[in-house]
């Protein structure tokens, strides 16, 4: 499974800007908090000027209180300075985020669906574009421009280790620019409530060096391999003659529907059902049989198929590396 997401351990320049702003805000707020508590304690422990018997000192009603006035003016001035510092830091962070140099950027289109992520890799040569799901590989040290779209309702794209959130809204295209400077695997998550399974709408971002990224992309561009053994062959035939191919696509076969995730290289992905399950044969079988048990409300219907057909189907899908 993928590691936990963590905005305080930035793996890229964008997240580092945001983390810097966060620590700056925490520092200022901590100073303010300590100062206020110190003032409060000072007021509490200060020796009382009289006891219960002493009559109230009404004279102070008329006398100007210079010390109090000085304290209030100082506190207001300090607050203004502190707030202005926060405002300045926020603007500077925004500017830094918006001015990431985008030369030689990788362009990726991410479409939010209920409840999974479609990831399309763009390329000037149409035959070199490819599509995957719930998994994104990016090269380390190169800027990535992600265009965000939504198919049904509003989703929000969030990889805390790499950048802040950005909404994916039906009918408009947003962009977010990020860059990973440290190789690693980072978890992303939908950050806008989008229905029953919002919590199970995660994805994985793998940042790796350029050579390995190209190698992965080339493997993803290849059509699905022909099944060799008889069992996988039967699974292939079942896939093509049944309900599977009505929604899913497997490049290089007759399955060309684009409503569910592209399964061309499904066995190479770390998770199933947008981070819901580990990707192994057992989970895959359970998922095909009754997805509603594992992720209630998901758009994939249950398939109460006989055991031997399920085995064959899983055997076939496991060959799609």
């Amino acid at each position: 499974m993928t590691p936990l997401q963590d905005a305080l351990h930035p793996a890229g320049i964008q997240a580092a800007h945001i983390a810097g702003l966060w620590w700056f805000t925490v520092a200022i707020c901590a100073v303010v908090f300590v100062a206020i508590l110190a003032g409060l304690f000072y007021a509490l422990v200060r020796a009382p000027r009289g006891d219960a018997a002493t009559p109230p000192d009404m004279a102070s009603m008329e006398r100007p209180e210079r010390a109090t006035k000085r304290t209030v003016v100082t506190a207001v001035a300090l607050s203004i300075v502190g707030l202005l510092a926060l405002l300045g830091a926020s603007i500077a962070t925004d500017r830094a985020l918006a001015t990431l140099p985008l030369a030689n950027a990788v362009h990726i289109e991410v479409i939010g669906h209920q409840w999974w992520w479609q990831v399309n890799y763009d390329d000037p040569v149409p035959a070199r574009t490819f599509s995957t799901a719930n998994e994104m590989h990016i090269p380390v040290g190169r800027p990535v421009v992600v265009s965000l779209k939504a198919d049904d309702v509003i989703h929000s794209f969030w990889v805390p280790n790499l950048h802040g959130k950005k909404d994916a809204i039906p009918g408009r295209t947003n962009t977010i620019q990020l860059q990973a400077d440290k190789p690693g695997t980072y978890r992303g998550q939908c950050a806008e409530f989008c229905g029953l399974q919002h919590a199970f709408m995660a994805f994985t971002v793998v940042a790796e060096d350029d050579a390995r990224f190209q190698q992965w992309a080339d493997a993803q561009r290849k059509p699905a391999p022909e099944p060799t053994d008889a069992k996988a062959r039967r699974g292939h035939d079942l896939f093509m003659s049944g309900t599977c191919m009505m929604c899913h696509q497997i490049q290089g076969t007759t399955a060309n529907a684009r409503k569910g995730p592209d399964l061309t290289h499904v066995a190479s992905r770390p998770t199933l059902a947008a981070g819901t399950l580990a990707n192994d044969a057992q989970s895959l079988a359970a998922w095909i049989r009754d997805p509603q048990k594992l992720k209630p409300g998901v758009n994939m219907p249950a398939h109460h198929v006989p055991d031997d057909e399920l085995d064959a189907l899983v055997a076939y899908l496991e060959t799609l590396k």
Binding site: T173, G242, C244, D290, K293, G297, A302, P306
Partner: protein, 185 residues
């Protein structure tokens, strides 16, 4: 009885009438092979039996009053590309319109179910083994709602989702990332 007590009683009765519509996410069904043993072909005429044709059994009790099933049917109408021939919202095209009151093969749920599963002459393909039967029932519910045959308290006044189709005039231009302007020489 005081007025207040009467009001409380009325409110309690009104609350008792509140009932959240049930969403049956998982339908119990017996194992069905992915590939049907024989490919069924539609009857040439309603009611006519041909050689080698097996009657499609319509087993599920039809819940005509469930708004959620109808909305699912609307989604599937797009997903399975019914709209490709019958038009978005059933206006017709290559295939006959579904939003009018003319029914070639019957408007009752069982007949529509059969039409989808078995296909009909002159172009309607058979979706047997291609669409799970529970989903066919949902499509049936939606198809009936298009010509006003659904219960008015269940038929939604607006669609659940944009279905990924926002009218082009409502599309917003792509937000372009900021790039530093080239310095003028």
């Amino acid at each position: 009885m005081s007025t207040r007590a009467a009001l409380v009683l009325v409110a309690a009765l009104a609350l008792a009438a509140c009932d959240r519509e049930e969403r049956k996410l998982s339908h119990e069904s017996t194992p069905a092979p992915l590939t049907p043993a024989t490919q069924k072909v539609g009857e040439l005429q309603p009611g006519m039996q041909g050689p080698g044709l097996e009657e499609t059994k319509t087993t599920r009790s039809f819940d005509a009053g469930n708004a959620w099933e109808m909305a699912q049917g609307e989604r599937l109408f797009g997903w399975y590309n019914c709209a490709g021939c019958h038009g978005r919202s059933g206006g017709g095209g290559m295939g006959p319109a579904l939003s009018d009151e003319r029914w070639l093969y019957g408007s009752d749920p069982d007949s529509i179910f059969k039409t989808i599963l078995e296909g009909r002459p002159n172009g309607m393909p058979s979706f047997k083994g291609r669409i799970p039967e529970d989903q066919v029932w949902q499509i049936v519910a939606y198809v009936r709602s298009m010509s006003g045959l659904a219960a008015t308290n269940a038929a939604p006044s607006r669609s659940d989702s944009t279905g990924g189709l926002v009218p082009p005039e409502n599309e917003r231009p792509t937000a372009q990332p900021y790039t530093k302007p080239e310095p003028k020489p």
